[in-house]
């Protein structure tokens, strides 16, 4: 399991290795699961109660399936850690945070100053997502 180089949570990281989705669904004691691009995250929803860490694989940064994976889990009420692992560029981090990712294990190290700049560049957002940011339409109408 990849260690998170960037983490936006206050609780202790889960030490248990993440197993495949198929393995997780069979192992009643497991609490960390890895979801690959192409896995259907909805299969995990009935078991969310015992999940402490979801690691979502990004095989190529252009493959955006993992964005939906995080949204689906957050919309199902999951509030544990969702870690993005793989080919993660600084330009993805803002969208990933909005989709509910709260830790990152990029293959190549990210420049922390670039990350901070990316996360503070956009003061407003146009739509609801998993991050609780208030959309512009709501700011307009109070």
């Amino acid at each position: 399991m990849a260690e998170a180089a960037l983490r936006f949570r206050n609780d202790d990281p889960v030490e248990e290795p993440a197993v495949t989705l198929d393995a997780f669904l069979e192992q009643a004691g497991a609490s960390a699961v890895r979801i690959e691009a192409g896995d259907d995250p909805r299969r995990l929803i009935p078991q969310l109660g015992r999940v402490k860490l979801v690691e979502v694989g990004f095989p190529r940064f252009r493959d955006g399936r993992g964005f939906s994976t995080a949204r689906v889990l957050r919309e199902a009420g999951y509030d544990g850690e969702i870690r993005a692992e793989g080919d993660i560029l600084v330009d993805l981090i803002f969208f990933m945070r909005r989709c509910g990712f709260d830790s990152f294990a990029p293959q190549a190290p990210l420049n922390r100053a670039d990350v901070d700049a990316a996360l503070s560049r956009y003061e407003y957002v146009y739509q609801h997502a998993a991050d609780g940011a208030v959309p512009i339409w709501k700011l307009r109408h109070g």
């Binding site: 955006g64 939906s68 949204r71 969208f95 956009y122 003061e123």
Partner: protein
């Protein structure tokens, strides 16, 4: 038309700085070209054969004189004095330097313009009926919905790294002037029996190497739920589309592979879920946006008479002027298809002239059309002659709307790194062959569309006569297609047979048209004749 508030402006300004930083990191070598490419494409910057090309968004094809003058300034300052209107109602510049692109974008932002999501695997600039707000046949102005969806789909965090591009169009009339069903998601505003406004929704259309006409997946969607429904469509596609073959990742392939019924079932399932999340924009936000699209202060009691004593003006009125919903006003189409010119090209000086005319005679509104022409949507009939004289003096008064010389063509191998063949010279040669105005009028409506490769940016699948340039053993070869339509009678053109060289394709087009003239009955368009008699009589004329 819509005006930015401080939030809209902040979003566009932030994207300029975002792109400036991405460009800096690329030039410093911190980003590889493979990493930079999707990032710059999401901001409309392509690398073509000779230089970078920047595609600037014109949301739903509506813009004003201040914006047009800025586009002219940019053409002079950053390009070679001209711009090129595209089949998505956008404008692109072909001679851009990477290091200057951030400054260009900063200038655009001063007039509420940008290049956000005009390319790449993103939700593209939304297109709409170019006569919106003016057409006599519309239910309502579709642009408030297009603007609402522009905002809803801008920097959407879940759908910014989609499998491929995603194109949306919105209209609100029976007549389709926006090639609706050739889009990934097509929306037509309708009213149900209770008089409520909603959308007919079509999904899975697209051109490219595997063309599909969009299926109707909803006959009535309450309008206030459109963002939920759109997100449902996008999530089904984003989660299930292939990622292993770029040519099979458009949504049309998924819809086709799953089948219309199963795709619809999955969308409806996700839609029910999205409705529980409360992400739809409220009525108050729609109302706020719609207020910007209130009709301009039209004068009442104006005469509908037009003095047609100047015969050249009369011909232009007959071809270029369309009925307006308000008495005394007209919709004036401006041709960007002079014989021998490059379809969609316009010089900076011509842009300034159109801006002046819009400001003085069209309530400061200009429209770009998917057929690569411009429109002054609200001209008093009494002003048409003055407008025509000014256009004529600037070389913008061709009277060829929807005629054989009103050709859609992609940039082709003259500019594009994807192209296999040139498109522009073929368009020019066909236009020159049929330059005679009387002959054009005699032939009547005939929409020719030319693409320089199978990506179909020139809409050849939707051409009444389509031309597709291919590479055949190192030489350019042109295939001829017949019977396509991008209108409400949408159909896909079919290939006639073996292709032609550059001269041969022009001859083949002429033989096709001459056969049509022999076969047509009174009032029958080329497309009607083709549909009545089929391909064979044309094949016989073409291949003998």
């Amino acid at each position: 038309m819509y005006q930015y508030d401080r939030y809209d402006q902040a979003m566009v300004d932030a994207r300029v700085e975002d792109f400036r930083d991405q460009t800096r990191r690329r030039i410093a070598g911190e980003l590889t070209e493979d990493q930079f490419k999707p990032l710059r494409l999401k901001n409309g910057l392509y690398l073509q054969l000779h230089a970078y090309m920047l595609r600037v968004a014109i949301p739903y094809g509506t813009f004003n004189s201040r914006q047009m003058r800025k586009l002219a300034d940019i053409a002079r300052k950053y390009d070679r004095g001209y711009g090129h209107f595209t089949t998505r109602q956008n404008i692109q510049y072909n001679w851009i330097k990477l290091e200057e692109a951030p400054d260009l974008l900063a200038e655009l932002a001063t007039v509420e313009m940008h290049a956000i999501q005009t390319s790449g695997e993103s939700i593209r600039n939304i297109s709409a009926d170019q006569y919106a707000g003016a057409a006599a046949d519309e239910i309502c102005d579709p642009r408030p919905w297009a603007e609402l969806l522009r905002q809803a789909t801008t920097f959407h965090p879940e759908f910014s790294y989609l499998p491929r591009k995603f194109k949306i169009a919105v209209i609100s009339s029976k007549e389709d002037r926006a090639a609706l069903r050739w889009h990934d998601c097509a929306l037509r505003i309708v009213r149900n029996e209770a008089g409520e406004e909603g959308f007919e929704v079509y999904a899975g259309g697209g051109m490219g190497r595997t063309p599909f006409i969009a299926y109707q997946i909803r006959d009535f969607l309450p309008s206030g739920q459109i963002f939920s429904y759109l997100q449902a469509i996008l999530r089904v596609w984003n989660m299930h589309a292939r990622r292993d073959n770029i040519h099979k990742q458009r949504m049309k392939i998924l819809v086709h592979d799953l089948g219309e019924e199963e795709f619809r079932r999955q969308v409806e399932e996700q839609f029910a879920h999205f409705l529980t999340l409360g992400t739809d924009f409220p009525q108050a936000e729609y109302d706020r946006i719609a207020a910007y699209f209130a009709p301009p202060p039209f004068e009442s009691g104006l005469s509908d008479d037009i003095d047609l004593s100047d015969p050249d003006f009369a011909l232009w009125v007959d071809r270029q002027v369309i009925a307006h919903k308000t008495p005394g006003y007209a919709i004036a189409n401006i041709s960007l298809k002079p014989v021998g010119g490059i379809p969609g090209d316009i010089s900076a000086e011509q842009m300034d002239l159109v801006a002046d005319l819009a400001e003085r005679y069209s309530f400061d509104e200009i429209r770009a059309t998917h057929a690569q022409n411009l429109v002054l949507p609200h001209v008093r009939k009494a002003d048409l002659y003055t407008v025509w004289q000014a256009l004529d003096a600037a070389g913008l008064a061709d009277a060829n709307l929807d005629l054989v010389t009103d050709i859609i063509a992609c940039p082709g191998l003259d500019y594009c790194s994807l192209a296999n063949a040139r498109s522009i010279p073929i368009a020019q040669k066909i236009a020159e062959r049929f330059a005679d105005a009387t002959r054009q009028r005699d032939i009547g409506e005939l929409k020719i569309k030319i693409s320089g490769c199978i990506n179909a940016c020139g809409h050849h699948h939707a051409g009444q006569i389509g031309i597709l340039g291919v590479d055949r053993k190192g030489t350019e070869n042109y295939q001829l297609l017949l019977g396509g339509s991008g209108a409400e009678d949408t159909s896909q053109a079919k290939i006639t047979g073996p292709g032609f060289d550059e001269e041969g394709i022009v001859d083949a087009v002429e033989r096709t048209i001459e056969r049509y003239r022999e076969l047509r009955t009174d009032g029958e368009r080329f497309l009607d004749t083709y549909r009545r008699v089929g391909m064979d009589p044309f094949k016989e004329a073409i291949y003998g």
